[in-house]
């Protein structure tokens, strides 16, 4: 009898909170993220998007409630994350990917660099790449872990439109290959372009959860409607 492969999906937050000192960074979060199209975490700065990603990546433990990965209390190793400002190791672009791969496999390194369009820059020191190239290299490094879920924390926050387009194309391609994308952004345009469903957060709380089209066309909450209008949601 064949055993079903281990999966980290659905990713579930059960009344999960993170409190630091007397501040609730995230409070009483109940959320289930299934397999499928990209889930976009939307919300103003300080709404808890990055914290949610760190909890989901198991980098931080909740101070209350619990998180489960595929109904288990611990995730499998097939999670990967790209940070808003990824740290480039002091070595070449190819060596950065090889490091994440954890083994010598030049063919796989070349494949991954090809996938993010960085093969011509394989021998260049990673720290000398542009911001957009560094983000693409961070994506290659994350993909080296062969992730089932890829968490992205505002990966295009400081990029120009051309670099943003390049990163978004890779994300769409990765999502199409079956990797679950969970991405934080505060850019409405990007959310519209990439989202399958939207998780809207404000002040550390889940305000609204909906399929992307529904969220953008008929938001159910006043805060989401205000955010979509471009009002300041504080």
């Amino acid at each position: 009898m064949m055993r079903a492969p281990i999966t980290d999906l659905p990713l579930a937050f059960e009344n999960a909170s993170l409190r630091i000192g007397s501040v609730d960074i995230l409070a009483g979060l109940n959320l289930e993220i299934p397999a499928g199209a990209p889930t976009i975490l939307l919300g103003p700065n300080g709404s808890g998007k990055s914290t949610l990603l760190r909890l989901a990546m198991n980098l931080v433990r909740p101070t209350a409630g619990r998180i489960t990965w595929g109904r288990r209390n611990h995730p499998d190793e097939r999670l990967a994350m790209v940070f808003q400002r990824p740290v480039m190791l002091r070595r070449t672009a190819a060596a950065n990917v090889a490091y994440a791969l954890g083994r010598r496999d030049e063919r796989r390194v070349t494949e991954l660099l090809d996938r993010v369009g960085l093969s011509p820059l394989a021998a260049r020191p990673a720290r000398r790449l542009s911001g957009g190239e560094q983000q693409r290299l961070a994506l290659a490094r994350a993909l080296a872990r062969d992730p089932e879920i890829l968490f992205l924390d505002e990966p295009t926050a400081s990029l120009d439109p051309a670099a943003t387009k390049a990163v978004e194309d890779i994300i769409a391609n990765v999502a199409a290959s079956g990797v679950k994308i969970v991405m934080a952004t505060h850019e409405l345009g990007q959310a519209r372009r990439l989202a399958g469903d939207i998780v809207f957060l404000a002040r550390g709380r889940l305000v609204e959860r909906a399929v992307a089209a529904t969220f953008f066309n008929a938001p159910k909450t006043a805060e989401a409607a205000a955010f979509l209008r471009g009002d300041l949601v504080i």
């Binding site: 190793e77 990824p86 070449t92 020191p125």
Partner: protein, 230 residues
């Protein structure tokens, strides 16, 4: 300035005694720094990355030991290595090996303390990325030491500077024996006390030139490395 001219004549005149002293000094100092680095680099990285009860105390002690009086270290090593001491059976007192051990003990706190600080700062920057990549603790240490390599070169140079300038420790455990344990610093002290200022000045000139030369080579290597690795 006749003493200065005599000093230059000694340096460039091919005096074998002088070159023997220079060679021994370099051998002892470089060996001491390498020996110290073997212990202090991983220990400094360990202090930076591992939290344990009493860690703050250890960090404070290591930092304080950067200013350890050389004669105290010399005395301690002398007592350890003397015939009635616990390590007397090694029979290395008044040999270059004893000088290497003593200098290494002086240099270990410098390299360990500066390594700890460097690695701790880098860990602050790398923590999330390496944790997200699920890098094992042992691999983290290697990664951080490798990525901090250019800063750590400066740390090793600080250790070399301390070792090369050392007089009191090597005098006590080496004995300043001519042709065997006489280094540049101990020779300078001796020749000055004897009034042989040309030799003292010549040695001083060589010592300063070596220290500047080693630093220049290390700086050049660091620049080339940074250009290649980013």
């Amino acid at each position: 300035m006749p003493d200065g001219a005599s000093a230059l004549q000694l340096v460039f005149g091919g005096d074998p005694g002088l070159y023997r002293i220079v060679a021994l000094s370099l051998y002892v100092s470089v060996a001491a720094v390498l020996l110290a680095a073997l212990v202090a680099l991983p220990f400094g990285a360990f202090l930076a990355l591992v939290k344990f009860p009493g860690r703050t105390f250890v960090v404070v002690v290591i930092n304080a030991f950067m200013g350890l009086p050389p004669v105290v270290v010399g005395l301690a090593v002398y007592l350890l290595l003397s015939r009635s001491g616990p390590l007397g059976f090694l029979g290395i007192l008044f040999t270059p090996h004893a000088m290497i051990v003593a200098q290494a003990l002086l240099v270990i706190p410098i390299i360990a303390a500066l390594t700890r600080q460097t690695i701790e700062d880098l860990w602050t920057e790398y923590r999330e990325e390496l944790t997200a990549l699920r890098v094992s603790p042992a691999r983290r240490v290697g990664t951080l030491i490798w990525d901090a390599r250019f800063s750590l070169v400066t740390t090793l140079l600080a250790g070399f500077g301390r070792a090369a300038a050392e007089v009191g420790t090597v005098m006590i455990v080496g004995g300043n024996i001519e042709g065997f344990t006489r280094t540049m610093t101990t020779a300078i002290a001796l020749e000055t006390s004897k009034g042989d200022l040309p030799l003292a000045m010549g040695l001083g000139l060589v010592l300063v030139t070596i220290v500047i030369g080693v630093n220049a080579i290390a700086w050049g290597a660091r620049r080339v490395g940074e250009l290649r690795a980013g």
